[in-house]
Amino acid sequence: MNIDHIRQDFPIFQQQHNGKPIIYFDSACQSLRPQVVIDAIDSYYLRSSACMGRSMHYLAAEVTRLCDESRKTVAKFLNASKKDEIIFTRNTTEGINLVAHSQQFKKGDVILISDKEHNSNLLPWQQLVQKQGVILKIIPSQVDNTFDLDAFEKLLSLNVKLVAIGSTSNLDGLTIPMAPIIKKAHAAGALVILDAAQTAPHQRIDVKTLNVDFLAFSGHKMLGPSGTGILYGKHSLLEKMDPFLVGGETVSSTTYETGVFLPPPEKFEAGLQDYAGIIGLGAAINYLQKIGFDAIQNQEHLLNAALTEEMLKISGITLIGPDDPRLRGGICSFYKKGTDSHQIALMLDQMANIEIRSGQHCVHSWFHAHDLAGSVRVSFYFYNTLGEVEAFLDNFHQIEKVL
């Protein structure tokens, strides 16, 4: 993989701020976009900005074809059985909410989540606790934040209806052992939904091999347009589920009393969709596959290893998660007691346009449980370089002098 060549695909790297280039280490929040994705979005507005599936004219047929292509691309990307298992959403959050609202839960049903879930995979279930009387149980992580299979198995002995879990944590980059977790959950009669927002951009996912029931991820973390996301669901399950949002394009017919809902995925895609985003997401996935996940992971590990090695030498710095960078993908999250992570982020930005994330990264519950104010999170993607890591370290060492 030629990084210099790849970086030329990203227009944002041509830009400077205050006479310095931008060093973007916040891809866990949102990735940068290559020109092909921008072109795909542009192309919709320039050449086929019409409605999908409703009108009979040429433009409508064209946008229908392009969106269908995207759906097929996503299905192939996940190795789904059929393209109708792919539901376009706005983001991971919407995908999880769709399942939370469309699946049938009853009072006393147990839902398992881990102790370091993003708010998007915590709050929808908390709502069910309040509204439907389900029981939310937390799977505690091990001391080094890795997944505790034993604790999980013990909890499965309860009346577990659903395991909702982040496959890769946005807090520390750790990926859980998905296959055994799903297998054990199924054995206990539970369904599994994976929050794959931090997995899909970095690792190959095979929903068929995993045998996962639902899987949600966002386009904006994997080079795609913001406001795009995917919910994968086994077709047999989707068919049984009630629609979450209803309206245009979800029904084949209505009377004044009722309506006839279309099969999935249409019944879950209410209203006019973000066609430009859907087409852009397809382009992003094609681009990612061209780069290849092996190359992506190698680059992320290279960068994370270089950063981790130096960070571990700094006294007072605590890494969140295991020290081994190979386990943390493209994320290096750390804190220093008594130091405000936001100040570090602001100083890095001010000094050298180094864009990192600070605070609690939408995992407030974990930070509160650990009595921590926040952390600094550096998140890489394949377009980052060792030179940028060195720049980060140089500037961080400077900041250390005033902390």
Binding site: H342, L346, V402
Partner: protein, 311 residues
């Protein structure tokens, strides 16, 4: 503390920039928390500190370290200086309103509202003076009995020392006459020659005063408004006197009288006792005002700050 100063500064900058407007809103929120004895929850002060220190780190680590370490103390100092400068600003404004100078009555220091110092400018007397500042100017032991006087015996007393050809006196005189017409204080006009050869005009005025006080004040008005290039000529004086209806022969006789020159010279000698160093110098109830002041300043000196409420 930093947020208080920031709020004021950013509010002003926010008039011109949306970015600063947003920061000002954050600062206000922070101020609100601080005045209610709660910690600032917006992180505004931390954000600004980090931006400042981050910027400094690329230039000078010791300076950045110093600012980071003493940020709160420096904020307090900054706020104190800010409040002090506001206090001085308000003081300057009040002084300018009441005395015509930001630095106090008759002060010649720089004043932003009167950058050219026009309210304290004078034409120098070129005579030795005992006064080292306007505070030393006095009417004590000065015999004013031979000068022209209007509204004698009024409890309020104004003595105007000016020169017919001094531009600053010419600026102040009509203002003073307006004040005298409104409040009717005892008004003494004392001519002190600092420009051109105005001694002769002073003698003419003295002689007219002996003939008619009304005509004298009219003549004074004419002298202070006349074209300086011609006012010393005999033709101008004669024409003016004729127009005023003054007995020119009688005035000429007075002018030839050696007592007239002696009296006018004595008047100058008396005025020198005040210590004056330039014209116009005005004494209002004994207080000296040097230079041409705006109307309000003379009125305040005469009637106080609320002069506009008095009759």
């Amino acid at each position: 503390m930093f947020c208080i100063a920031s709020f004021i500064v950013l509010s002003i900058l926010g008039i011109f920039s949306a970015t600063n407007r947003q920061l000002a809103k954050e600062a206000l929120d922070c101020v609100f928390h601080r005045v209610t004895f709660r910690p600032c929850t917006t992180g505004f002060d931390k954000k600004m500190k980090a931006k400042l220190v981050g910027g400094l780190l690329t230039r000078s680590v010791p300076v950045a370290k110093f600012i980071s370490k003493y940020f709160e103390v420096l904020s307090w100092i900054f706020v104190a200086l800010f409040l002090l400068s506001i206090a001085f600003g308000v003081r300057g404004l009040v002084l300018y309103y009441t005395t015509g100078s930001c630095n106090g009555l008759n002060s010649t220091g720089l004043c932003v509202f009167d950058p050219k110092g026009e309210n304290v400018a004078t034409s120098a007397t070129n005579c030795p003076t005992s006064a080292t500042s306007a505070k030393d100017l006095t009417l004590a032991n000065v015999n004013l009995s031979t000068f022209a006087v209007k509204n004698p015996n009024s409890p309020e007393k104004i003595v105007f020392i000016g020169c017919y050809e001094c531009d600053y006196s010419r600026k102040a005189y009509p203002v003073m006459i307006k004040l005298v017409d409104k409040y009717a204080p005892e008004f003494v006009f004392a001519h002190f020659p600092v420009k051109g050869n105005t001694n002769h005009l002073a003698e003419v005025a003295y002689c007219v005063y002996q003939q008619s006080q009304d005509k004298y004040w009219q003549l004074n008005d004419i002298f202070f408004h006349a074209d300086k290039t011609v006012m010393e000529t005999e033709a101008f004086v004669n024409d003016t006197l004729t127009q005023l209806g003054v007995d020119v022969g009688e005035v000429n006789a007075c002018l030839f009288d050696p007592n007239t020159a002696r009296t006018v010279q004595n008047q100058v000698t008396e005025l020198e006792k005040t210590g004056l160093f330039g014209t116009p110098t005005v004494f209002i109830n004994g207080e000296a005002l040097v230079g041409p002041k705006p109307y309000r300043v003379y009125a305040i000196a005469l009637r106080g700050l609320f002069f506009w409420l008095t009759k």
